[in-house]
């Protein structure tokens, strides 16, 4: 064979390797296109463009889509099952049955301004069950007594300690705020103890929290609205925070207050187990206890139907905090058929944007 003919064969083979014919994506995948600021600063269009921007912007847009599906679902969208109750066959009833929404978040988010977004959701009864950690309770109440301030991540710890300032990320909470909290809460615990002893009241974390929401009586508090709208707030780890410190001191000065966590596990699991015929949707900000507790409750009904996780944790260490929704599917905490998204983003950025495009937009439409 001539040299040039050999070269041609080699070239053809290399060409076919490097320039492998690709499968066409047109029609199956969205094209990537970001926002064009030549159209001016249009925030609505900017948010809409996230879907086609890629990476976590696209994930956030997907999450918004899943939450909207969660909020739009009605029982009338499902075929009537053979074994359903007579009441469930009625069309108007089926149009009224909505998805049950579980909202979970970690304490730091309540120290942040996300607390006010949560308050909006509770104020308008847009969520059905809340699970959080102890700071998620006290930080909301303390903000009604004294404010939290913006600081900086780099403020030196020893210097802050000498000034009586506690740092939460780049936020600052003065010691004095916790003193005000102590002065406010101890008499309430005294009263609760009296009711326990004289009226046989059985306190659980969720009941205690509802009482605190009632006592704070402040429209800026999400717990106040949760109490008013009968949204149960679960916090099985109630002792792990300033509130726990208060319970500890109260047990010396006026002992005997009992808080029953067994009753509350019945209640939170019951919220999932007895949700039917409603579907369930879970929105979880952060990881830790709130994330697992909500997923576990939904396991009792063979899994949630919609799930949105917004957190910055990663799965490489096997932590539950970092686990993607698909890991929860393996446990039966989320259904295999469920619509799920994880947004790898700090919830202080992602959640207000998500609420803007979901919960808050729906009320706009109603007005």
């Amino acid at each position: 064979m001539s040299e040039s003919k050999q070269d041609d064969i080699v070239m053809a083979s290399v060409h076919s390797t490097v320039f492998k014919e690709s499968e066409s994506l047109d029609g199956t995948c969205l094209q990537i296109k970001g926002y064009d600021f030549n159209n001016g600063v249009n925030y609505q269009q900017l948010l809409n463009s996230m879907l086609t921007t890629g990476f976590q912007a696209s994930n956030l847009a997907d999450a918004i889509n899943v939450v909207n599906q969660m909020l739009d679902w009605r029982l009338v969208d499902e075929p009537v099952t053979e074994d359903c109750a007579d009441e469930e066959r009625d069309l108007d009833y089926r149009k009224s049955v909505k998805c049950k929404v579980f909202l979970g978040f970690t304490s730091n988010l309540i120290s942040s301004g996300v607390r006010d977004v949560v308050r909006y959701l509770c104020q308008h009864h847009m969520v059905d069950v809340i699970v959080t950690t102890t700071g998620g309770i006290e930080e909301d109440l303390i903000k009604c007594l004294a404010p939290t301030y913006k600081g900086d991540f780099s403020l030196p710890g020893a210097h802050l300690r000498s000034k009586g300032l506690n740092r939460i990320g780049n936020l600052l909470v003065p010691n004095d705020n916790y003193c005000k909290f102590e002065d406010w809460i101890i008499p309430i615990f005294d009263q609760m103890l009296r009711e326990q002893n004289n009226e046989n009241v059985l306190w659980t974390p969720s009941k205690l929290i509802a009482r605190l929401g009632k006592e704070i009586n402040d429209e800026s508090s999400y717990l106040y609205w949760a109490y008013k709208n009968n949204i149960p707030v679960f916090c099985p780890g109630l002792t792990d925070g300033s509130l726990g410190d208060m319970l500890y001191f109260h047990s010396f000065h006026n002992p005997g207050l009992i808080v029953d966590i067994v009753r509350d596990i019945r209640a939170v699991n019951g919220e999932a187990v007895h949700a039917n015929p409603r579907k369930t949707g879970i929105i979880i900000l952060g990881g830790g206890l709130p994330k697992h507790h909500i997923c576990n409750a939904n396991m009792m009904r063979n899994g949630a139907d919609y799930a949105v996780f917004i957190n910055t944790a990663q799965e490489f260490d096997g932590s539950d905090s970092g686990a993607r929704p698909d890991e929860a599917v393996s446990w039966g905490k989320i259904r295999g058929s469920a619509k799920t998204v994880k947004v790898h983003c700090d919830a202080t950025i992602a959640f207000p944007l998500l609420v803007a495009e979901t919960f808050a937009s729906k009320t706009k439409r109603h007005h």
Partner: protein
């Protein structure tokens, strides 16, 4: 008050209060404090500064001066605690009755018969043996908050 005032209380009480208030932050180890209405000797004090748990607090561990039981309390350091008046008085031992009461010689020359033998075994056997041997014994009686107990023994010499 008027001259016709009747003194019903015994000389030891004379209307004086059994405790006095003292700021928690000033109470030190080896002092005394009332915990759960019991007079205690302070064996441990630790203070936690103002913080997430609220106001600065003092954590006291005390031993009940009569029963020896360990009691603890946590009090905000700015609050007042009750401190018991603790008195020790020495009396000469005159007699031990069959039902375990002692007869003591008071300063005024009368007898004090309302005290029982102490429950502490070593002190009890010291008193019984010493008395049995005919020794002159002086007992120390500790009193606080209306309660009294023999807490010590002195041998003042051979008979």
């Amino acid at each position: 008050m008027s001259d016709e005032e009747h003194h019903f209380e015994s000389k030891a009480d004379a209307g004086a209060s059994k405790t006095y208030p003292q700021q928690a932050g000033t109470i030190r180890k080896n002092g005394h404090i009332v915990i759960k209405n019991r007079p205690c000797k302070v064996v441990e004090v630790s203070t936690s500064k103002t913080g997430k748990h609220g106001h600065a607090k003092c954590h006291f561990v005390g031993i009940d001066i009569f029963t020896g039981k360990k009691l603890e309390d946590i009090v905000p350091s700015s609050h007042n605690c009750d401190v018991p008046h603790v008195n020790r008085t020495d009396y000469q031992l005159i007699d031990i009755s069959e039902d375990g009461f002692v007869s003591l010689l008071t300063e005024s020359g009368g007898t004090k018969d309302d005290l029982k033998l102490p429950s502490d075994e070593s002190l009890l056997s010291q008193i019984k043996d010493g008395f049995g041997e005919g020794k002159d014994l002086i007992v120390s009686v500790m009193s606080a908050m209306g309660e009294e107990q023999i807490c010590g023994l002195k041998d003042i010499g051979p008979k």
